[in-house]
């Protein structure tokens, strides 16, 4: 008995250990991903050449770890030391200078390299069909609907049978019978029908009214077919590279055209996977880049801004009512919320659509569930009571709601 127990105990412990280790690694890789996106993604992709070469297999190409690290930190120093491989590479890439990253620690570089190697070895992911996942649910409701209908018909039939039997028995017993009333003039039926109609009508009216002004899945056609999938997905450019405002202030901001041209001065054609619009028509990526050039006035042949620029009028997708105050930096910087939480998997979207309904219920739900960076951010040190509760175990975490995140004047003023 005792024997079994100890084995079970060991098993449990090792399982836990395994989980922790797996979890740890996951965290590690995720850090690597974040670091990669922050530092490298604007010029490098894992398996594609961008402004700089593809990084897949970099550790095989440069086996000297020290050299590689030195290169990443300060490539100019390595170049000036006359390393052949890197000098050749530099010349091969038209002597485009690489940024220096002197502040990266060994661990951080290792994390990024791990990320690159795991990403390079990853098989192309099988896309899960969102509609497929939702399908069984839809089936169920249909089934329930049919069942309800069948039951309702049975009830009706039984009622009719009952009425007929009653009439028959009445006749037998000689109770004077009234002229039978057809069901469409039977007041009970009419009343029932009216009530059902009212309930159904009311339901749809209310749902319709709640939905007024909401525009989930809104996906307008934009002046340029800008694919987030290509930029944030395939090429893994960090969201904040273009939408830097998200960590500074209220608006995430659509990048100004000079930000686009940081990369597109060099990248003037699209040679990736074929792109399709929602309606199935194919998009010529190179033509779309040319549209950008016509807006910015860039002449790719002369390699300079030759024409008068004009602004791009993007169609705004995410619109909040005027009486709502929303601040991106509160969520991105202070709250450390990932962009995808509210915007969906933008890296897999062609043209962006509104992922959530941006309703108040949706906001409030998130505020109820999300935990704040309570111990990490010194701002919250003033909440002594909660810190004590955390210490003595009365609380396991502090949600946004607990520090007043669902109060009216956090968003409405």
């Amino acid at each position: 008995m005792i024997h079994y127990r100890s084995i079970a105990k060991k098993l449990v412990i090792s399982f836990l250990l395994l989980t922790v280790v797996c979890f740890d690694q996951q965290v590690f890789a995720q850090d690597g991903k974040a670091l990669f996106q922050q530092n490298c993604a604007s010029c490098h992709a894992v398996s594609k050449n961008l402004t700089g070469p593809a990084l897949a297999g970099i550790e095989e190409r440069v086996t000297d770890k020290k050299l590689l690290y030195a290169w990443i930190r300060n490539n100019q120093a390595v170049l000036s030391s006359g390393n052949k491989y890197f000098t050749d590479l530099y010349n091969q890439w038209n002597k485009t200078p690489m940024n220096a990253f002197p502040n990266l620690t060994d661990e951080e570089i290792a994390a990024m390299l791990t990320y690159i190697s795991t990403e390079a070895n990853k098989k192309p992911e099988v896309k899960t069909d969102a509609a497929g996942a939702a399908a069984p649910e839809a089936d169920n409701s249909l089934l329930f609907g049919i069942l309800t209908l069948i039951l309702a018909i049975i009830v009706l039939v039984l009622m009719q049978v009952n009425a007929n039997l009653k009439r028959l028995s009445d006749e037998k017993e000689g109770v004077p019978s009234y002229e039978p009333v057809p069901f469409y003039r039977n007041k009970a039926y009419i009343a029932l029908f009216a009530v059902i109609l009212f309930i159904i009508g009311g339901y749809y009216t209310i749902m319709g009214a709640i939905g007024l002004g909401r525009s989930k899945d809104y996906q307008p056609e934009q002046p340029i077919y800008y694919s987030h999938k290509v930029h944030a997905g395939t090429n893994q450019i960090n969201c904040l590279y273009c939408h830097g405002g998200a960590q500074e202030g209220k608006h995430a901001n659509i990048p100004s055209l000079n930000t686009c041209m940081n990369c597109h001065m060099a990248i003037n054609e699209y040679a990736g996977e074929k792109l399709y619009r929602e309606d199935g028509t194919e998009v010529n990526g190179t033509e779309e880049i040319k549209k950008l050039y016509s807006y910015t006035g860039w002449d790719p042949d002369q390699k300079k801004y030759a024409n008068e620029p004009k602004p791009i009028e993007w169609v705004k997708i995410h619109n909040l009512p005027d009486h709502v105050y929303f601040n991106h930096s509160q969520h991105v910087k202070a709250g450390q919320v990932a962009c995808q939480t509210c915007h969906g998997e933008v890296q897999n979207m062609g043209e962006v659509y509104q992922f959530t309904d941006l309703s108040m219920g949706w906001c409030v739900n998130c505020h109820r569930e999300t935990k704040v960076q309570f111990t990490d951010n010194k701002f919250y040190s003033i909440y002594e009571k909660f810190h004590n509760d955390l210490k003595n175990g009365t609380l396991d975490s502090v949600t946004v709601e607990r520090i007043g995140g669902t109060e009216c004047q956090k968003c409405h003023y």
């Binding site: 307008p220 659509i254 105050y325």
Partner: protein, 1049 residues
């Protein structure tokens, strides 16, 4: 029961019927159900069937409208974004508020390219971040729809500046040697002075005349006579133990109120450990804002100012007091002289008179009491007023004689504010080339042949030296909205200098500061200050004193009634009359908006109109209706017909009228038809323009309505809203107020447990932050800068006179004015100002009555108002004991989705609905639509921003992160705000250190406010409120006044 010690209105004093009715009804108007009871529901104006029809129609219409497609919105990014311009993040630029000679260092908040708020620049050592209501409101002037939008010649647009330059250049060249005169307001900008001298050099025989609408020429000349310097010294009120003001409104309008109120409040802050404060005596004819703050106040006729100065000088020199009428005044002068003599080197006399002789006497007094070099600083004179009246008079003479070839006018408007405007106008017609650089089509510009509007200061480059040695720079915060050009640019062009003024200005300062880095730093700071000069002073030359005294003694005695002209702290000299924020800010004393009027003592009112203020029904007749009795004021051959307001504390032989009103219609919709111009009632005595005159009064049959906000809010008979004690009482028994509170709260758990034991409701935790505000009533002078700051920060609507008349004013913050004393004895009147805003009660009565929970409490102690949830029942406003909730009766700021959804439209509302004006709105604050309640939010947008800043910087919240708009605007630092859960915060310390003076308004009703006040301490022998009305419901207080009635005539 000490009730009705302080009264806001005569009705409250008398407990009249109108007052009682007002106390019962939250809203002044009756509900719009006419004849309900008499005729029954179906016959009423809106019968039930119609009502149902409307309901059906509006539901259907709303459904149709709402189901329309959501409009497509565009997002247009920059092509090339400047590094420091992030949409949604405000930038702050140091610049300088320029108006006339006033130059106050400010910081402009620029959001997405638009300046939307002005704050004081804390780097300036003299203004220390202080502002006035005019400074706060100046950002709205930028978006004034009445600004001139292009250069004009003969009223027609000139297409380009070049064409205009050529036109005027030709005209100037064709003058044939006739002199060119540049007429400006006071110029204290070093670079502009250089530009002017270059221009004058180009046109030989030309000259520069500086002219101030309200002149200080008497002081300038007197100082020249006694100190050999035509300059105005700066006054350091913080060094004065005894302050005597002879009619100078130094906290409101006199010379440099920002600096003076900073210094004054330093001397008036009562330290709990060592309670002491300066003593302020005021001698004046009318009740000015400064006088209302005085410890002791004596009234006299305006023509007697000289006599008072002479008597004071005499008393100081050991002669008896003579030459003044009235026992009280005599005794007052004796007392003041004694006090002054006892505080040599620590006292100061200032005087608002523009008479050279009076100012010479004042200089002699200051010399006798050793103020020069101790309190009066001659090392850094004030340079904001330099106009000499005689220069202007000479110019007008020359113009009439045809001896002026060209007149270039910059920021001066003599056709409106010159005492003899008619003469100026006829003169102007004889000037061959007249050019105006004024920003608007004002009374003078209208008459000019050429008009080249200048930029607003927020669109300009420049500099100013308000005080010698203290330079502040002006930098543009937005590119010019219209086709306007800086006048300096124009003068440079016309003097043949090809550089733009921007470059000129840059070169000027780069060479002076030694390098462009220093210039950029100065531009960033906004101020250039050399080390403070030693407080030396020029020696006093008393040669003219005897002559001055003789002249004063020989001056003509005033007639039966005298009129004195004054400036309001908001409207000032009338320059900003088209600013609706200023027009709607109530006057500190009369609490009237959108008007000027005759201020008259109740005694004179009784003699003229037979209104006995102490008779409840008569006082109701006068007070409860907006229509006021009117009077025709006749001065010489000039008359003006104005309504009358009875103000206790006025000298019984004097009436007072504010200047700055009666502007031309072309100046804008807000100024049009508001009040009347009284500048022409002033007179010129050969050296300076005097602001008083003999007047004869005649009853008028005209009907005027005055929109005063005084009687709008009612505390429903509850007390005590304000508390006050004398310095002596405070020193003797520091815990008097604390003891009073303890005693009052004893039955409900005492001070300690009152919050818990005084209620059935549960207590709620405030775990992190608890916001709190502490207001020192000793430092609130009633100027109203906070009111305008609040309006600007929180998109508070302007409603216009017609709506204020219906008590629909929207201010979130009001400054209540209380009188105490005997209405018929001006010397006994003591005034208390109290800023009243939402008290953010922890046990708020408004919250429990809202049927839709649109107002509720936050865990940070805020009483939250959620506009989008509000359905407009107004139960909350009805249940608010402080009456600080405001209802949007109309769509005042164009917030509704349906344009033109207005029936209450007046010109002013339409003006605030304009797209240009709406550019001033703060994008972080919801613009409220019709039908919702609003109120003070403690500037929650700033609190949220401050918290976010701290979070982003990974640190706890600090005091510097959060400042409410009212707190930031106050130049007397009366308001302290912060997190009271943090014992190290300023507000916690303020409360703790001043525990003895702290109180909550209406504490006994257990609403648990988060705003506390510190009781006012008056450095005087007695508090009128305590002396006069010890008995409950004093029915006829006049009879109780010891010396009441003595002033009747």
């Amino acid at each position: 029961m000490e009730q009705k010690k302080y009264w806001q209105s005569f009705g409250e004093l008398n407990n009249s019927d109108a007052f009682k009715k007002n106390a019962q009804d939250e809203f002044k108007e009756d509900l719009p159900f006419e004849n309900f009871d008499a005729q029954g529901l179906s016959d009423a104006k809106t019968p039930r069937r119609d009502f149902l029809k409307y309901v059906g129609f509006s539901t259907a219409a709303a459904a149709v409208a709402a189901s329309c497609e959501i409009p497509v919105k565009k997002a247009i990014p920059f092509i090339n974004r400047p590094v420091d311009a992030v949409p949604g993040i405000a930038n702050y630029y140091a610049t300088t508020y320029i108006s006339g000679g006033d130059a106050i260092p400010v910081v402009a908040k620029v959001r997405d390219g638009r300046p939307i708020k002005i704050e004081g620049n804390e780097l300036s050592s003299w203004s220390r971040g202080g502002t006035t209501s005019q400074v706060q409101a100046s950002v709205l002037d930028l978006y004034d729809t009445a600004r001139l939008r292009f250069p004009m010649a003969d009223g027609k647009e000139v297409s380009t500046f070049d064409a205009f330059d050529k036109m005027v250049g030709d005209a100037l060249n064709g003058l044939g040697g006739a002199p060119v005169v540049l007429l400006t307001s006071t110029i204290n900008s070093p670079s502009s002075k250089q530009v002017i001298s270059e221009f004058l050099a180009k046109y030989p025989g030309s000259r520069h005349v500086q002219y101030d609408g309200v002149s200080y020429s008497g002081m300038l000349l007197a100082n020249e006579a006694t100190h050999g310097k035509r300059a105005i010294p700066s006054y350091q009120f913080e060094n004065a133990k005894v302050i005597v003001s002879l009619g100078a409104d130094f906290l409101g309008t006199w010379l440099n109120p920002v600096e003076f109120s900073k210094g004054y409040s330093k001397g008036r802050k009562v330290d709990a450990q060592h309670p002491s404060m300066s003593k302020h005596y005021q001698f004046e004819s009318m009740l000015s804002m400064t006088g209302a703050n005085a410890d002791e106040r004596f009234t006299h006729r305006p023509s007697e100012t000289g006599a008072v100065a002479a008597a004071l000088l005499g008393a100081l020199n050991g002669q008896g007091v003579s030459g003044v009428t009235g026992d009280k005044l005599k005794k007052g002068i004796e007392k003041v002289a004694k006090d002054l003599a006892a505080h040599k080197g620590q006292s100061l006399v200032v005087c608002g008179s523009n008479d050279v002789n009076v100012q010479i006497l004042v200089n002699a007094i200051n010399e006798a009491i050793g103020a020069n070099g101790a309190v009066i600083n001659w090392a850094s004179p004030l340079q904001n007023r330099a106009g000499i009246d005689a220069d202007m008079a000479k110019l007008v003479e020359d113009m009439n004689a045809g001896a002026v070839g060209a007149l270039l006018i910059q920021d001066a408007n003599p056709a409106y504010d010159y005492f003899d405007a008619e003469k100026f106008k006829t003169g102007l017609k004889k000037v061959r080339v007249s050019v105006s650089f004024n920003e608007k089509m004002d009374e003078t510009t209208e008459l000019c042949k050429y008009v080249l509007p200048a930029n607003h200061f927020l669109e300009s480059w420049g500099d100013a030296e308000h005080k010698a040695g203290y330079v502040s720079l002006v930098q543009p915060t937005i590119s010019p909205l219209f086709k306007t050009r800086q006048w300096q640019d124009t003068l440079l062009k016309w003097s043949g200098n090809a550089t733009t003024y921007a470059d000129y200005h840059k070169n000027f300062w780069t060479s002076r500061l030694g390098g462009s880095d220093n210039f950029n730093k100065a531009l960033q700071d906004g101020v250039i200050e050399s080390a403070a000069a030693v407080m030396g002073f020029p020696s006093f030359n008393g040669a003219g004193v005897a002559a001055a005294a003789a002249a004063v003694a020989a001056a003509k005695k005033g007639g039966k009634v005298e009129v004195v002209l004054y400036q309001k702290p908001t409207i000032g000299d009338g320059r900003h009359a088209n600013n609706p924020w200023l027009q709607e800010t109530p006057d500190p004393i009369t609490r009237a908006t959108w008007d000027n009027y005759v201020m008259m003592s109740p005694a004179m009112g009784k003699a003229m109109f037979d209104i006995d203020i102490s008779n409840p029904s008569q006082s109701d007749n006068y007070e409860a209706f907006p229509e006021k009795p009117a009077v025709i004021v006749k001065v010489g051959n000039k008359t003006v017909d104005l309504p009358v307001l009875l103000i206790p504390g006025m000298n019984n032989d004097t009436i007072a009228i504010a200047v700055g009103y009666g502007r031309s219609e072309k100046i804008g919709k807000a100024a049009a038809g508001v009040g009347q111009n009284v500048y022409q009632l002033a007179s010129f005595n050969g050296t300076s323009v005097l602001n008083f005159a003999d007047a004869t009064l005649e009853k008028s049959t005209s009907k005027f309505k005055i929109a005063t906000t005084q009687t709008h809010a009612s505390y429903e008979g509850r007390y005590e809203v304000v508390k006050e004690l004398t310095l002596a009482e405070y020193v003797k028994n520091p815990t008097k107020i604390l003891d009073g509170r303890k005693k009052e709260l004893e039955p409900w758990g005492g001070l300690e447990n009152y919050d818990k034991d005084g209620t059935l409701y549960p207590m709620f935790d405030k775990p992190g932050i608890k916001w709190g505000m502490s207001i020192d009533m000793n430092s609130c002078y009633g100027c109203g800068a906070c009111v305008v700051a609040c309006t600007a920060e929180n998109n508070v609507s302007v409603v216009g006179k017609s709506e204020v008349l219906r008590a629909h004013d929207m201010h979130w913050l009001r400054i209540d004015r209380y009188f105490a004393g005997d209405v018929n004895d001006p010397e006994s009147i003591q005034t208390v100002f109290q800023p009243m805003l939402c008290q953010h009660c922890d046990n708020a009565p408004c919250e429990n009555v809202c049927p839709v929970a649109a107002t509720n409490h936050s865990s940070e102690g805020l009483n939250q108002m959620t506009y989008n949830r509000c359905i407009g029942t107004r139960y909350c406003a009805n249940n608010c004991p402080y009456k600080v909730r405001r209802f949007n009766w109309a769509d005042y700021t164009g917030a509704d989705s349906f344009s033109g959804n207005q029936d209450e439209s007046s010109d002013v509302i339409m003006m605030m609905n304009d797209d240009l004006t709406r550019m001033v709105l703060n994008p972080d604050v919801t613009v409220r639509s019709r039908g919702v309640i609003e109120k003070c939010s403690f500037c929650v947008q700033r609190l949220q921003e401050g918290k976010l800043t701290a979070k982003k910087q990974d640190r706890p919240l600090e005091d510097k992160d959060v400042k409410t708009a009212c707190q930031q605007a106050c130049s007397a630092d009366a308001i302290v705000f912060g997190n009271v859960n943090n014992s190290a915060s300023a507000v916690s310390k303020h409360r703790h250190d001043n525990m003895n003076r702290m109180f909550y308004s209406l504490e006994q009703i257990h609403v648990l406010p988060n705003v506390n006040y510190l009781a006012k301490v008056r450095n005087t022998d007695k508090i009128s409120a305590h002396e006069q009305f010890g008995a409950p419901h004093a029915a006829a207080p006049a009879a109780e006044g010891a010396e009441g009635g003595g002033a009747h005539h």
